[in-house]
Symmetry: C2
Subunit: 482 residues, 2 copies
């Protein structure tokens, strides 16, 4: 067996001292995933400075049979960027490739290195009166390459789509070290298979994204956030349709949460008050934006939308943000659900989707069912109703440690939730990807035809299996399911 010494010598010569290290102090911080659930080891940490260096490094890996784990900001939710425990995998960080290559104001697009950080793109676009309309909690660390590899979602998907909808072009290094260059943004191009679509969301298993051309949209001139109380999720869904009819594409957010989640947040943030006076079983956050030229009539449009919703009996109570700081305060409540619940104890979290129109029925079915089947747990759903995507969290019985919960009861709860979602025609991973954490569940519940196609494509593009092995899809079916 190759001890990798020859590989490491050649890699060091290729990348130089800044580009390759085995120093545990430098490598260690990147060996644990964002949520702290996986801890791996690495042969070394490679940090190439250019696409050419990535390509040469991958050729070297292919020659020596060294497996590669690409990593961006290491803020993924499914362990897709954490190496395994063997110590034989090379951790390939894209963070040194962090240049904004170009921002074309008239063409409304940006060309970024894979390691460019999302928040920096937000700022660069804002400086030019433009906007990159995808955002999420980890924006200060998440990189463009990671967001593409996981087809990231977030809170603005209802209007602008997931990362896939914002990618105009891609540059990637393939398993044999060749460079796939499709950076040029063509609005129409029918020269065969749209290969960049394969790379988006493939979690580094088919190629390593090194750069991308991304769509920008006009900056938001103004926004109004509405906080409303509704009796149940069916009414919330009707309200969603009402809002879409009333303001069309100006609707940029439609989030829901239960009364219990709001209470948890208020417990967690003692200085914050509830937006509404009374009690409501469900709460809805609606964001409506205006671009330049539309801002004058924003207030009128939102007031008319809410007034007619009242008249139609869709809202029990509602308040409109009077200014930007109040808009931010409403969003802070929404964004604090996850930390507030973590503070309450152990939980298993499921990032699931079903067809948008089925989501109310699914939640009203699944919550009592899970609570009945697993006495002592508490199930709740919140999130992106407009995308048919809720985060379905199931809290452990009081006093259970996260470790104990994960080992048995939590695992059984998760399997049951995934069964239910699959029965309803939904997805066990709406926006977080498969990575390491859901691979077994995908093997267990995924459509066998889709899984077979994925393996065929994986084998075709990475026959030796050196790109992020053990993540997303394996070359052969899992023997446990054969």
């Amino acid at each position: 067996m190759d001890t990798h010494a020859a590989f490491l010598d050649e890699a060091a010569a290729l990348l130089g001292p800044r580009g390759l290290t085995q120093d545990p102090d430098l490598v260690e911080p990147w060996l644990t995933d964002w949520r702290g659930r996986y801890h791996g080891a690495a042969l070394a940490l490679a940090s190439p400075a250019s696409t050419d260096e990535v390509a040469a490094l991958v050729k070297l890996c292919a020659r020596h049979g060294v497996a590669i784990v690409p990593q961006g900001g290491n803020s993924g939710m499914s362990g897709g960027a954490t190496p395994d425990e063997s110590g034989s995998q090379l951790l390939l960080s894209l963070r040194r490739m962090n240049t904004l290559r170009r921002l074309d104001v008239a063409g409304r697009h940006a060309v970024c290195d894979a390691g460019f950080i999302l928040e920096n793109l937000h700022n660069a676009a804002q400086d030019q009166g433009l906007r990159f309309p995808l955002t999420l909690g980890g924006k200060g660390s998440a990189t463009i390459g990671g967001l593409i590899s996981t087809n990231a979602g977030g809170t603005q998907v209802i209007r602008h789509g997931s990362m896939r909808a914002l990618v105009l072009g891609i540059e990637a290094v393939l398993a044999d070290g060749t460079v796939f260059d499709a950076l040029t943004p063509l609005k129409k191009d029918n020269r065969g298979f749209d290969l960049k679509q394969l790379l988006i969301g493939s979690e580094g298993t088919l190629g390593i994204v090194t750069a991308a051309t991304l769509r920008l949209v006009p900056a938001v001139a103004d926004r109004i956030v509405v906080w409303a109380g509704v009796p149940d999720l069916h009414v919330a869904r009707t309200l969603l349709l009402h809002c879409q009819d009333a303001v069309g594409d100006s609707l940029e957010g439609f989030e829901v949460l239960q009364a219990t989640s709001l209470r948890a947040v208020l417990d967690h943030l003692p200085d914050v008050r509830a937006p509404l006076q009374g009690e409501h079983a469900w709460h809805v956050l609606v964001e409506v934006v205006a671009e330049r030229g539309e801002a004058d009539c924003l207030q009128d449009r939102v007031e008319a939308m809410i007034a007619s919703a009242f008249d139609a009996g869709l809202i029990e109570d509602a308040v409109l943000s009077a200014n930007e700081s109040q808009a931010r305060a409403f969003w802070l409540l929404r964004d604090s659900i996850a930390p507030a619940e973590r503070a309450k104890g152990a939980a298993v979290q499921h990032d699931v989707s079903v067809p948008v129109e089925k989501m109310p029925a699914f939640v009203h079915h699944a919550v009592p069912l899970v609570e009945a089947e697993f006495p002592g747990v508490h199930a709740l759903a919140f999130g992106h109703l407009g995308d048919g995507n809720v985060h379905f969290h199931v809290l452990a019985p009081a006093g259970t440690s996260q470790r104990d919960y994960d080992l048995d009861l939590g695992a059984r709860v998760s399997a049951r939730v995934h069964d239910l979602v699959t029965e309803w025609g939904g997805s066990i991973s709406a926006e977080h990807g498969i990575g390491r954490s859901k691979r077994a569940e995908l093997e267990r519940l995924g459509d066998p035809v889709s899984l077979a196609m994925m393996r065929q494509v994986k084998r075709a593009l990475d026959p030796a299996g050196i790109l992020n092995p053990g993540k997303l899809v394996t070359l052969a079916p899992d023997p446990a399911n054969a």
Copy 2:
């Protein structure tokens, strides 16, 4: 060699008399492509009535090694649905599968069989206050399956995107006869590779689309079409940005044509008058739409947009459609360019794209260059400036027959145009696909890395090469280019 007799017996038993025929009167009409450039032969014409029948038929073909040419409305522009001359390929028509399975008004989507005709979908959506926002000349014959397989474009792409952007789900039969069922519309789904993207635009070479779930949008309540005269394409591009700033997503069309094209149309349609009095080097058609709730301010918005364009010196003259029949009259001028030019004599046509911001410079560069290099020809460009997609037609010297032109001069002109587009980072097929007509040019000019990836994917999903062989991509590189 199998004489196919056994195959035909089994296929006849499977499909019944309505499902399989060798009657020349029934088969012949489908053996020539829409533009009359290719004429093939077929073993038989199969017309399965259901996805199950397609699946069983493909299994049968796989067993007997019979190649399949899928066909929808047979209105493609690149010969992708015409069998070769051997008489050994099975023509598989999807036209009998023509049901609208479901139209979900609240969920704003439709589930259609592959053979459902585009215009019928337009009408079904309109009846429910909705719209399927893709349209093109062949809407009365084009089928959903064909539109997906070619990733069709059309005149509304600037806002709503090509077919790819409108497909929420797909059902397809793969090369081994298994059914890939991804019809359920999930707005967010990150369970691995987005396999439906591979099938969209693959021209039947990776699978046979049997059904799809398509996105619908609110019906248009009103529209205004502006006809404007501008001095050149650079100004037209600046006007495009101006309109995008002024009306944002309400901009649904932005088409350009030269004075010579307008004159050709007016010669061709003697009862029609020019929209503007004076002479202008270039003409622009701008469509702005309003959905319900926005219709009141449409006139004001468009008038303000045009007034400020005048003030900025972007428009020499302009007229707004006063009513729907005038709007239709403006579009008739645009839609008559191709027939008007055909009436003037032989031409070679190129459906090309470059990055939107480069299109003016490309046209101003390519037109005089082509005319100088090939004395006697006349080059002109028209079409979808907002998509960076123009139809670049080069008329033959007076008196040249189409046949003679195609055999020599026209072929050299086309090669030169494709060279130029490739140098400019563009696509030799913006919206018409590759099919049979551009396969050699794709081999000659395509990115070798992309071509290699396409072959790897094709080999993985159709190892025996029975799905639409000879179209789009071959299993091995073309020896002429090896």
